[in-house]
């Protein structure tokens, strides 16, 4: 069905559907819609859809609605209240364990190796050998060189 004045009718229809899901139409708008047969049909469709339209806030079962709102309030208290220090004993235990481990390891770490096992006396007496340790380390190589020279 064609509209009497398409542009004007479209403006009126946009205004009409902007009212949805309400079903009451302002009298001035209703009068304009009644003047056009196609708009009258739209007005009837508007009433029909409005009658079927229902918000979730009404369609949700009351029990679910209440439960959801209560859950928010519970969470509000739970998340904003100071939490009990349930972690404190765990931290104390961990700290005690660390101290115990450290105390156990202290002698191993702090006692010098020469105190734990002093070098043999005869080695210390050969101080001259220690001063030329690099020569001793290369002794085998020097001997090999010496052997080659003798040949």
């Amino acid at each position: 069905m064609n509209h009497a004045a398409p542009e004007r009718c479209r403006t009126d229809l946009v205004e009409l559907w902007a009212l949805w899901p309400r079903t009451e139409i302002p009298s001035a708008l209703a009068a304009r819609l009644d003047a056009c047969p196609a708009c009258r049909e739209e007005k009837a469709a508007f009433a029909a859809l409005g009658a079927r339209s229902r918000p979730w806030s009404e369609a949700l079962p009351a029990r679910r609605r209440r439960r959801a709102a209560e859950a928010v309030k519970r969470a509000l208290t739970a998340r904003t209240a100071p939490r009990p220090a349930v972690w404190a004993p765990a931290v104390a235990f961990a700290a005690a364990l660390l101290v115990a481990l450290w105390s156990y390891r202290v002698p191993d770490v702090t006692v010098a190796p020469w105190r734990a096992a002093p070098p043999p006396r005869e080695l210390l007496e050969r101080r001259d050998l220690l001063e030329h340790l690099d020569l001793l380390q290369n002794w085998d190589q020097a001997r090999a060189l010496a052997g080659e020279g003798a040949q």
Binding site: R63, A68, L76
Partner: protein, 217 residues
Amino acid sequence: MDAGDGRKVGRRRKRVLYNPRVTQPSGPAERPSDKVEPEESALIERARGGDRDAFGVLVDRHHAAVMGFLMTVGRDADLAEDCAQEAFLKAFRSLNSFEGRSSFRTWVSRIALNEVRGRWRWNKVRGLLSLGQGEDAEVDVESLRTDAGSSDELAALERRMELERALAGLGRREREIAALRLEGYALHEIAELLGISEGTVKSTLFDATRKMRERLS
């Protein structure tokens, strides 16, 4: 306005805490109903001081509408409940950033919408949408049917599900606007919440309701 997740909506401006005693500058888009009602502003002030009971009154007043539109936008009753809860908790934590330029309901709804959109994006990333929660999926109401205590409640649920099937055929923006309108949000509230003009809301509603009628007929 703070969207509740740390992001600022609109132009960055000097942060001014909401004070109901100070008259806020009113622009051409503002109407008396945009502002917080005196009684509500008193509740907000008390809640800001840590009064959870006062905030509980705000929850009682607005939770159903927020969860309602999230049902249609999120298409899952449990998801809607989670997002609504998270939105109210975020609102409580960031009440100091609420300036009162919009209604409390618009503000908390904006937070809720960000929350549900974020979860949708996350679900998309995780590929969970292949499990039946596509763009045109209907609301999952199985858990609601078990909650219906009487035949009247069950009938109301089924009637709403008919409408939901019509809403499922709409685009994302159309569905958001229709869902908000169905829960009783005013046109200017929707425009503010979605950051669009009131004219766009009206023309989108016009298209959305036409599609809904076609699907229902």
